[in-house]
């Protein structure tokens, strides 16, 4: 079984991943909405910037972030790194769901008396909700394993928090056999998140 330190690292990583996804959600909704508008000037550039963290080396992303943000204390570094690295995975499903929204249905709902609030409750929330959740799962799973950007961002004096990826890395360095179990748990969690996101995305596409 997992050791006490490993359990604590898992719990900490969960908390950080959830918080970073929640921080990233408002800007991700805005960016997804902008990307779903055809003909918006600068859309291609915004797309490259938003999807960049998916392919850019994480350490490089962390270094670039540290230019304006400066070295950050442990929790802040982990939150910012998790939010930015998971951002593309959060944006993408929401953008696809926005593209699928049928403007004719929206028109029918408006004409039959729905104001902005009721439109949100009866139209946007049910049609976008599953995709937002899917994006949150994917981005959360990605943030859970984030280490490279965090290391580049964190204040050297403070040091990174003892998260799941840090324990994995440290364990691998000293050849600790118990680390393999933690690695398996980490992989299993990501696969579960992937499966869950897939189910949600299919549900969103059916609606």
């Amino acid at each position: 079984m997992l050791t006490g330190a490993q359990m604590a690292a898992l719990a900490l990583s969960f908390k950080l991943a959830l918080l970073s996804v929640l921080c990233a959600l408002p800007p991700a909704l805005l960016v997804a909405w902008l990307l779903a508008r055809p003909g918006l000037p600068g859309r291609r550039l915004l797309e490259i910037l938003a999807y960049g963290p998916l392919v850019a080396p994480p350490v490089a992303v962390g270094l670039l972030l540290s230019l304006p943000a400066g070295p950050l204390p442990g929790p802040n570094a982990a939150l910012l790194a998790g939010a930015v690295i998971g951002f593309p995975l959060l944006v993408h499903p929401i953008r696809r769901a926005l593209n699928r929204l049928n403007p004719e249905l929206l028109e029918a709902a408006r004409l039959h008396g729905a104001g902005p609030f009721r439109l949100f409750l009866t139209f946007h929330l049910p049609l976008l909700g599953p995709s937002v959740l899917a994006g949150m799962l994917l981005a959360g799973a990605r943030a859970l394993g984030e280490l490279g950007a965090t290391l580049a961002l964190v204040d050297a004096l403070d040091g990174p928090l003892p998260t799941l990826p840090l324990l994995l890395w440290q364990g691998a360095q000293i050849g600790d056999g118990g680390t393999l179990r933690l690695a398996l748990v980490g992989v299993a969690l990501s696969l579960a998140a992937l499966a869950g996101a897939g189910l949600l995305a299919r549900r969103g596409a059916r609606a």
Binding site: E104, E107, L111, T122, P126
Partner: protein, 351 residues
């Protein structure tokens, strides 16, 4: 209580121009071919497209006034609409779609509408499994649940098989007597079935308007050579299964459609089903023989279109040019119209 408008509007690359009034209690049709701007006009009335000039008012409420810069949002216009597609929300069941117009405000009204449209057994079904007719009935129910002050119908019968169109048409006819209903259609058959008044639309312009019979029988609207006659069932002949429909200028006998005495009956007589005789024929199987005065005669290829006056009612006949020559037909002559077939065009009785 009428809808009145006079607008210029450009919507989706389609220009619409002209004026129109639609009184309450009846169905006013906008009749024109596909692409003539019917949908664009309905969208402007609904508040989904903004006119560049003019006014739209409904019983004193201003929907749009370019001069005063008024544009009432679509959701505040109190309109119910059937679009060209049902446009139901796929993530809601039938009941929630029906209630969308006015959620939980008036449960009694909701059940009345569901009852009237026969949707009670479907309330908990997802909309994905509905037949085309059912989906349109749900769309109609959603519009009615709003207690609309104006009902807009964009070609509601188009594309339905005849039997199903008949059912929906009966439901639509049953809505007469309420708020103004505006119906866009390109089908003469649907026009004859549903409309009371007609405004003709062509290339984005709202043209001549009048009662259905006026427009149908006018040269402005050559709906195939036929005549539309509005009459009343005056007598039943139970032993022969016939009814007499009386109209200004005569009466016609036809098979009993099951309507009561006094009911309005709209008859269509195709010009090809009317023959002419100078003297009333004897020993003839045709039962509808009406004295008439010949008003006009127009050659048309090998045949002639003959316009007859039966009192105040006009009737069209198509005969061969050879027959017209042989009978020596001329305007002003009196003759007898032999009507071989009469079709009852609604309003259809409600199921």
């Amino acid at each position: 209580m009428s809808l009145a408008l006079d607008i210029t509007c450009v919507a989706g690359g389609q220009k619409v121009e002209g004026g129109l009034t639609a009184p309450p209690g009846q169905i006013t049709a906008i009749f024109g071919p596909a692409g003539s701007g019917k949908t664009a006009l309905l969208r402007a009335i609904a508040g989904l497209a903004r006119p560049s000039r003019g006014q739209i008012t409904l019983c004193g409420r201003t929907f749009h006034d370019s001069g005063r810069g008024i544009e009432l949002p679509a959701r505040k216009r109190g309109i119910g609409m059937m679009f060209d597609q049902p446009r139901l929300l796929p993530h809601f069941r039938v009941g929630a779609n029906l209630a969308y117009g006015e959620p939980a405000r008036d449960p009694a009204h909701f059940s009345r509408v569901a009852d009237q449209l026969g949707l009670n057994d479907l309330l908990f079904q997802p909309v994905a499994g509905l037949t085309p007719l059912q989906a349109r009935l749900v769309a109609l129910g959603r519009a009615l649940n709003r207690k609309p002050e104006l009902l807009l119908l964009d070609d509601p019968l188009a594309g339905l098989p005849a039997a199903e169109a008949e059912v929906l048409a009966a439901h639509l006819c049953a809505l007469r007597g309420g708020p103004p209903i505006l119906l866009a259609t390109s089908s003469p058959a649907h026009l004859a079935q549903l409309a009371d008044g007609v405004a003709v639309m062509a290339a984005g312009r709202i043209g001549p308007a009048g009662t259905l019979a006026e427009i149908w029988n006018s040269p402005a609207l050559p709906c195939g050579p036929s005549t539309l006659i509005e009459g009343k069932i005056s007598r039943k002949d139970a032993s022969w299964g016939l009814v007499h429909v009386t109209f200004p200028g005569g009466a016609l006998k036809l098979a009993d459609p099951g309507l009561p005495i006094g009911a309005k009956a709209r008859l269509r007589v195709n010009a090809g089903d009317v023959a002419l005789a100078l003297a009333p024929p004897v020993d003839c199987s045709i039962q509808n023989i009406l004295p008439a005065r010949l008003v006009d005669i127009t050659p048309d290829g090998a045949s002639c279109l003959v316009l007859l006056a039966l009192g105040d009612t006009r009737l069209r006949a198509r005969i061969t040019r050879r027959a017209a020559e042989a009978l020596g037909l001329n305007p002003g002559m009196t003759c007898h119209a032999l009507v071989k077939a009469v079709a009852l065009e609604g309003p259809a009785p409600c199921p």
